[in-house]
């Protein structure tokens, strides 16, 4: 067991865990932040996406020992993020969610996309969101919500 100091949503945290523990389980089990979801555990579905050092990252495959000093941002902080807030508003407005399990990961990826490309094309949306799976197949509504959020943010 090792002790790690990490910053999650701007708040310093200290955890004592095995170095190989994935960040996802540190968030969910140690810090009780359950907004980030476990989907596949092998970075194949995107449900566990957080921002690590500003980069959309699959938290299920990143051992805590490799997090270092990079700040962690999770779905719990999106309401206070201008782009995150706009995305969540459009998610609600367009009724994107069906079962909802993958949606925190979808939103984290959508926000990362819009922070990098404020007005993405359909191709850019599909390429960036291609690693986020939705078993309810809400892909068309996700794409429309991203485009709508992009429009809202331009005003």
């Amino acid at each position: 067991m090792e002790t790690y100091n990490i910053t999650v949503n701007g708040v310093p945290k200290q955890v004592t865990v095995d170095p190989g523990t994935p960040l996802l389980w540190v968030l969910r089990e140690e810090l009780k932040m359950t907004g980030t979801k476990y989907g596949c555990g092998i970075a194949a579905c995107g449900a566990c996406t957080v921002h690590l050092g500003g980069v959309a990252t699959r938290s299920c495959v990143v051992p805590i020992s490799l997090v270092g000093s990079r700040p962690v941002v999770t779905i719990e902080a999106m309401a206070d993020d201008p782009i995150g807030h706009a995305v969540q508003d459009e998610w609600v407005s367009l009724d994107v969610v069906q079962c909802g399990y993958c949606q925190s990961g979808q939103i984290m990826s959508a926000v990362a996309l819009l922070k990098s490309i404020p007005k993405p094309t359909d191709t850019e949306i599909e390429e960036s969101m291609g690693g986020n799976l939705c078993r309810c197949a809400t892909y068309l509504r996700i794409r429309e919500a991203i485009k709508s959020a992009s429009q809202q943010l331009k005003r």
């Binding site: 990362a112 996309l113 291609g130 690693g131």
Partner: protein, 207 residues
């Protein structure tokens, strides 16, 4: 008859001393070592080629819009794409999963600045067929394609580049087994590269 005998004698002497229409080499010893060096260089290149075409190296030297993975060199899962700089796209970058070191507890390989080689350094065709030894050699030594690297820079790249080093320490798969290694150790790879560079980076003549 006497003239015929003199001609015959002259031709015989010429054959014995190797007198031909080509000028003799200035220094037979240096000509011999140069030939040996090129031969050795080509042999060293074949060793280098055997490493470059191993899946740990060539999976990220594709001609397509995506990397490969695994010893069978299948398309990388999760619809990963190359992106404008070979590092993926905004919400699906290489570093979305690949960290600065191997994550053996989760089976994801990693090294500093994980990325695809540029298309100018593709070592496969669009059908994922590996290019020939001569083709890769020519590409690797073309400074308009290889980031303007001369022989010394190629040797430095093969000696120090983190992604090159990673290929010889590729970590564990998700099932806990070790990833397969290139056919040479890194030390042997550097030695072969040095011999090839010192021979003037010769390339095979065949296609």
């Amino acid at each position: 008859m006497r003239l015929d005998r003199m001609v015959l004698l002259f031709v015989s002497l010429a054959a014995v001393v190797g007198w031909t229409s080509h000028p003799p080499p200035e220094n037979p010893q240096s000509a011999s070592s140069k030939t040996t060096t090129r031969t050795d260089g080509l042999a060293a290149w074949q060793q280098v080629y055997s490493v470059l075409t191993h899946p740990r190296c060539i999976n990220c030297h594709t001609a397509t819009n995506y990397p490969q993975q695994g010893d069978d060199r299948h398309r990388h899962f999760a619809n990963v794409v190359r992106g404008p700089d070979g590092k993926g796209v905004p919400a699906l970058q290489c570093v979305t999963c690949h960290q600065g070191a191997n994550a053996d507890s989760t089976g994801v390989p990693g090294a500093h600045d994980w990325h695809l080689a540029p298309l100018s350094m593709k070592w496969q065709d669009l059908n994922d067929k590996i290019l020939s030894s001569a083709e890769i050699c020519r590409s690797l030594t073309d400074r308009s394609k290889n980031n303007n690297r001369d022989g010394a820079a190629l040797l430095k790249h093969n000696t120090e580049e983190p992604l090159v080093l990673w290929a010889f320490h590729p970590g564990r798969r998700i099932d806990g087994s070790m990833r397969t290694l290139p056919p040479l150790t890194h030390e042997e790879f550097v030695t072969a590269t040095r011999a090839w560079v010192e021979a003037g980076t010769p390339c095979p003549q065949t296609r």
